[in-house]
């Protein structure tokens, strides 16, 4: 008999009941909530006269709309202010823990959750946000849900689900110098496409994945959704367990030992069956830069903008032509010849302490290039900000001409004041280069934090493998 995958184990441990057709009620251990996708869910509860099933399973934080400057003035945009105030009043009314804008624990929901130990191995974790896949880095079954499901989980502690298929992506070998988890994610998406993981839960495996820090694994699982997979995950190892020691929501004492024993089982059995498998060689991966309006439109930094004429499929070719027109790029242009107007370092993909360190390490006494209008560094949470400041990273950034901001989603999706103006080109460490994502007619190139910082200093993309060894 075939063994079980990590996903099989997580699924089976959470099935409350299952219909003959496979439709199951899946129990949810942790529900993370933010201001954008929850107000209609709380309103639905009120209209039906329902209460949350288990308030201790819910943790809320405003992140999408919060300003990254001048917090003492509150939120100037009246519509955004109402949304954040609505989250706070809903949490107050229903007895839910919320880290408000003035709380040092406030931050992007996917940075805050693991940081607090609110995400733990073996949990089911949901949030009304597609990047909930981030939490799978801890061998949790974690995925985004819509607002109707936010209400459903609040009311019932369960989701109605059908099991996804099992997919494993293995990356073996040692990642070359200058290549990070972000590059691995972009490389994989470039190979399998943005729909490559649709209908699947992806387990990332192999020696290159095991060698990643928890921050790196979170970056990788975060981008699983950009490969079409709602959930990405990595098996538990000592790196996972070490991450949780002393975190506020993590178990302590005898419970810690009991939990760790259970967590050690959270890996795929050696003879587990996967519906799909992909294997990549770490040595083939270079620092990656997207050139188009979908994360799969990506090449290595030493390549050139591809030519639609070489694409055989008509729909794809038309997509490439549209993307190049939107991006203001010409086929054949070397990636390193593309100048940038703005740089954004942050987001739930790359807003953690390791990302701040990697970006700061590129500065080496230099300054942001004259053609770069703005280089924003937005830590993922108040605690990441404190840690970075304790290490003096904020001073390095500010002295080099970067702006050091307060935590939030910021220019990843530009719901607050941080955005691109029409036609502006940005090197961004976020996760989506869709049309208009960072502002109407803004042009986004997705890169790692080190690549973004290097682009800020050079004024254009550079191959970081060739410098500063």
């Amino acid at each position: 008999m075939a063994g079980k995958t990590l996903y099989d184990k997580l699924w089976e441990a959470h099935v409350v009941r299952q219909e003959a057709d496979g439709t199951a009620l899946l129990y949810i251990d942790r529900h993370l909530v933010h201001e954008v996708t929850s107000p209609q869910a709380f309103e639905g509860l009120r209209l039906a006269g329902r209460r949350p099933w288990r308030t201790d399973s819910v943790v809320a934080v405003p992140d999408h709309n919060v300003p990254t400057l001048g917090r003492e003035r509150g939120i100037e945009d009246p519509i955004a202010r109402i949304q954040v105030e609505t989250l706070e009043s809903n949490c107050r009314d229903f007895g839910i823990t919320v880290f408000g804008m003035d709380d040092p624990r406030q931050g992007i929901v996917h940075v805050m959750g693991p940081e607090q130990g609110a995400t733990l191995p073996g949990m089911t974790v949901v949030c009304g946000d597609s990047h909930t896949s981030t939490h799978g880095a801890f061998a949790a079954l974690a995925h985004g849900i819509g607002t109707s499901e936010v209400e459903h989980v609040l009311a019932t502690q369960c989701l109605i689900q059908k099991k996804m298929r099992n997919m494993r992506i293995t990356v073996e070998g040692e990642l070359p110098h200058g290549v990070t988890a972000k590059d691995v994610a972009l490389f994989i998406i470039g190979r399998i496409g943005t729909a490559g993981g649709t209908g699947c839960a992806i387990e990332f495996a192999g020696s290159a994945i095991r060698s990643l820090s928890m921050e790196g694994r979170m970056t990788l699982c975060n981008m699983a959704i950009e490969a079409g997979a709602r959930a990405g995950m990595v098996a538990v190892d000592q790196t996972t367990i070490d991450y949780f020691a002393g975190r506020p929501f993590a178990p302590q004492g005898a419970l810690w030992d009991q939990a760790v024993a259970a967590w050690r089982e959270l890996h795929s059995d050696a003879n587990a069956h996967f519906d799909r498998e992909e294997v990549f060689d770490a040595a083939e991966i270079a620092p990656m830069v997207t050139w188009g309006t979908s994360p799969e439109m990506v090449v290595a930094v030493d390549a050139a903008v591809p030519d639609p004429a070489e694409e055989a499929d008509a729909v794809r070719r038309e997509g490439m032509v549209k993307a190049l027109a939107y991006m203001g790029l010409t086929a054949g242009t070397p990636i390193t010849a593309i100048p940038v107007d703005k740089v954004f370092i942050g987001s739930c993909t790359n807003g953690r302490i390791e990302d701040m360190r990697a970006a700061a390490a590129q500065i080496r006494g230099r300054r942001v290039a004259a053609n770069v209008r703005q280089a924003l560094v937005v830590p993922g949470s108040g605690l990441v900000k404190q840690q970075a400041e304790a290490e003096g990273l904020d001073r390095l950034f500010v002295e080099a001409g970067f702006e050091w901001r307060e935590p939030g989603c910021s220019m990843c999706l530009a719901m607050n004041a941080d955005r691109l103006e029409p036609g502006e080109r940005c090197a961004a460490t976020s996760n989506r280069n869709f049309e208009g994502r960072q502002g109407k007619d803004g042009r986004t190139h997705l890169v790692s934090p080190a690549m973004a910082a290097a682009a800020a200093i050079a004024g254009h993309f550079v191959d970081i493998r060739k410098e500063g060894k």
Partner: protein, 213 residues
């Protein structure tokens, strides 16, 4: 949720793949705390020539004449014909809310992104997966015939073209049932309160660290 049984309506073609939820409803409109009113801002950046912001009088904004939904032949469309990986990107349910508010009840595509697909069913929208050849043929027929309409019958799981040709489609039986009856998921789940409580008690015993307080 509004029931969906059958519909005959004009088809609008959106001929691009990987249409993401940022394109369906841009983020500035997500600041609303309501569920309705997103229709005028559906595909905002493609549909209008200016930059849309919440609170604008959309009837006064300059329309992009090249965008398909602005063409007179597609006015009143309730069926959207789309390409692969429709609805990729964020989990925002504002995307199906905007499509529904505009008037769409059916989306036809060769593939959908998972979260969006799921969100449609929660809002009385029927997303239908058809093979790529059928989708190609429908694009060609829509382009060739002004006023092209399809009849979509969920009970029979069948699409009928103006020439009388029919296509069958698959739909998850549970989701079909919920759409046909307009059922509220939460009400259905709460019929199993005892099973949830029993699971929870067992889980609390096995993994007490997951329960605080």
């Amino acid at each position: 949720m509004e029931k969906f049984t059958a519909l005959e309506a004009i088809v609008a073609p959106l001929d691009r793949s990987n249409v993401d939820t940022d394109a369906i409803i841009p983020k500035q409109f997500l600041k609303s705390i309501r569920r309705s009113g997103f229709g005028p801002n559906l595909f905002d950046e493609w549909r209008y020539l200016d930059q849309g912001e919440p609170g604008m009088d959309n009837s006064q904004r300059p329309l992009n004449p090249d965008f398909v939904l602005n063409q007179s032949r597609y006015q009143g469309a309730q069926i959207l014909l789309a390409r692969e990986n429709f609805g990729c990107g964020s989990s925002r349910e504002h995307a199906p809310w905007a499509l529904l508010d505009y008037g769409f009840r059916v989306i036809l595509a060769p593939s959908f992104a998972d979260i969006f697909f799921n969100n449609c069913f929660k809002n009385g929208i029927l997303p239908i997966v058809l093979d790529a050849a059928s989708i190609d043929r429908l694009f060609a027929e829509v382009a060739a015939h002004e006023g092209y309409r399809l009849r979509v019958d969920l009970e029979q799981q069948q699409i009928t073209t103006p020439s009388g040709a029919s296509l069958t489609f698959e739909v998850d039986p549970f989701r079909r049932h919920c759409l046909l009856e307009g059922l509220d998921d939460i009400g259905l789940t709460l019929q199993h309160v005892d099973a949830i409580r029993a699971y929870e008690a067992q889980r609390r015993a096995e993994a007490p660290w997951l329960f605080r307080g």
